[in-house]
């Protein structure tokens, strides 16, 4: 009853199909339109477009500002992902295996950047980098992105470490390996999917980050979302649809990869 398909009447069932179908359409519509409009010929984003064209893609790839922004994004996201993973990895070991008091509190503390509104992290770090004279630098971008990326990397690594059977590592130690050797030769290889998934999540957080980046950016140094943001405030040009499409497909690709890795680690 209500939770099994057989017990529902056809009227409730078809109503449910209709309602959820419409909500699903509501969820999928913006994504579909943005990809379609990036190939439309209309400057004013009329749908359906009068013609199909790739001229906005040419516009995007011919403009050094967009390309620079995309490359900066890639650079910042790559370094952020590496740094966040390197910080999160030892912390995850300590939190999963440590026997000290206050572990739960530390876990909450480390996940705090996920809970505190991003705008507040943005303003706080902006204030710090302003007094250090570092706004508009790669360092400022990377440090502030690592703050929000670390919890994502950590949670993924912790999950895979919890699933790893520690007795396998102990077996290696009994067979004569040192603890460190065992960790590097036995534990790391088996939790590798979890570590990579964590790194990918961290990459994605940085790649998609808008609020902090807008605060950190200078006219000379901006990431792709910042360039989109500042262009958006002037007009809705289809070139933004191109940038959006590229963002969508890269995020999708990365999320699929991370999910495959996560499934493999379970």
């Amino acid at each position: 009853m209500l939770l099994t398909q057989q017990s529902l009447g056809w009227r409730i069932k078809s109503a449910l199909y209709l309602i959820t179908g419409s909500i699903a359409a509501f969820l999928a519509m913006p994504i579909f339109f943005i990809v379609a409009l990036s190939f439309g010929s209309s400057q004013w984003l009329v749908f359906p477009p009068p013609h199909w064209t790739t001229k906005w893609y040419e516009r995007f790839f011919d403009n050094p500002q967009w390309i620079d922004a995309a490359l900066t994004s890639l650079q910042v996201a790559t370094v952020t992902s590496i740094v966040a993973t390197l910080i999160a990895l030892p912390a995850s070991f300590a939190l999963v295996r440590g026997k000290f008091r206050g572990r739960d509190y530390l876990y909450s503390l480390f996940t705090l950047p996920m809970i505190v509104p991003v705008v507040i992290i943005a303003v706080a770090t902006y204030s710090m980098f302003l007094s250090l004279g570092l706004t508009g630098t790669l360092v400022a971008f990377i440090i502030s992105h690592v703050i929000v990326a670390v919890p994502f990397a950590m949670i993924s690594i912790i999950n895979s470490l919890k699933l790893f059977d520690k007795s396998i590592e102990n077996a290696a130690v009994i067979c004569g390996a040192s603890r460190l050797q065992a960790i590097f030769k036995v534990t790391f290889p088996s939790i590798k999917p979890g570590i990579f998934a964590g790194a990918l999540f961290a990459f994605l957080v940085s790649w998609d980050e808008v609020v902090i980046s807008v605060m950190m950016a200078s006219p000379e140094l901006q990431t792709l979302p910042v360039k989109m943001w500042s262009t958006l405030r002037q007009d809705l040009t289809p070139v933004i649809a191109v940038a959006s499409t590229l963002l969508i497909f890269l995020s999708l690709f990365i999320m699929l990869a991370a999910n495959i890795l996560r499934k493999r680690s379970q």
Binding site: M1, L2, L3, T4, S7, G9, T20, I23, A24, F26, L27, A28, M29, I31, F33, I34, L37, L45, F47, L86, I87, A88, P90, A91, F93, A94, R97, G98, F100, F110, L112, P113, I115, V116, P117, V119, I121, V123, A124, T125, S127, S144, V146, I147, V150, D208, V210, M215, P225, M228, W229, L232, L236, I240, S244, T245, I248, S251, L252, M255
Partner: protein, 283 residues
């Protein structure tokens, strides 16, 4: 032996050093100094808070923030509930399809989705064209740069955050309980309102709380889809910092936002650990 345990202990905590140093220096210190600024900038005292609560335009921002968060939570729960129900009801086929749509929407770049709504909702946009073609309206509706735009865009973004916890708590409900109610003579209506809905309550509550907290702190979507008169707290904070260099007011507003967020999150954690369904699924 005790020395070995001691050294093991020390090693474990030393592994925390990188994260403690990093988050301590770059996250906690700036955060705390921002909070401190609210009572020290420009003079010591609660001036900023009294100004924030005494100026009508500022109070408007606060009220608007809570209004938007409340409406978005309401709509997200209303639209998320049937989705979560269907995903639980048809675990393969239709439900799986719905789940994938929800995840796809959640994974897609926030800025890209917001831009898309900006295009879809503009006066010459697809939605207005469609409504005019069907004949529902003669004049294009003002759907963007106002409260409507913010609510549509934010609800859209928040639906997945209701569906996922709600679906988890629904799938933890034993169908036999509902069966029992109907065997005992309860009508479908009664079973829904007296048995099913109360059992979903923890899931609805935690999803709603999550969405409410996230909505309070959202910047991108309200800033792009809202108008000047719909400013919310996050946009207000950024504006005070970037345009007016008014750090005192900005940090007072930030303190209020943080306080509300942390209190709500604390309640969220309490509800999560106490709810009977979360212990069934193991969290």
């Amino acid at each position: 032996m005790s020395a070995r345990i001691y050294s093991q202990k020390w090693k474990d905590t030393s592994l925390l050093l990188p994260i403690l140093l990093f988050l301590g220096i770059f996250f906690l210190i700036p955060l705390i100094s921002l909070l401190v600024q609210s009572v020290t900038e420009p003079t010591l005292g609660l001036v900023n808070f009294t100004e924030l609560l005494a100026t009508s335009t500022y109070v408007q921002v606060l009220a608007n923030t809570f209004l938007v968060a409340t409406l978005v939570t309401l709509f997200a729960v209303l639209l998320g509930f049937p989705l979560a129900w269907c995903i639980t009801l048809f675990p393969s086929g239709w439900g799986r399809f719905l789940l994938n749509v929800v995840l796809l929407s959640m994974w897609t770049s926030l800025l890209a989705r917001t831009y898309s709504w900006l295009v879809l909702l503009q006066s010459s946009g697809v939605l207005n064209k469609m409504l005019m073609a069907i004949g529902i309206i003669d004049q294009p509706l003002e759907l963007v740069h106002n409260l409507t735009g913010v609510i549509i865009g934010m609800t859209y973004i928040m639906i997945p955050f209701v569906v996922l916890p709600l679906q988890a708590s629904m799938s933890a409900i034993d169908p036999m309980v509902l069966q029992a109610a109907s065997v005992c003579g309860a009508s479908a209506r009664t079973v829904f309102f007296r048995v099913f809905l109360p059992l979903c309550k923890p899931g609805i509550f935690s999803g709603a709380l999550m969405v409410f907290v996230m909505s309070l702190g959202y910047y991108v979507t309200p800033a792009l889809l809202g108008g000047v008169s719909n400013m919310m707290l996050p946009e207000f904070i950024v504006q005070q910092v970037q345009n007016f260099l008014n750090w005192g007011i900005a940090s007072a507003a930030a303190s209020i936002l943080i306080a509300v967020t942390l209190v709500m999150f604390y309640i969220y954690l309490k509800v999560q650990t106490e709810s009977p369904t979360s212990s069934h699924t193991g969290g």
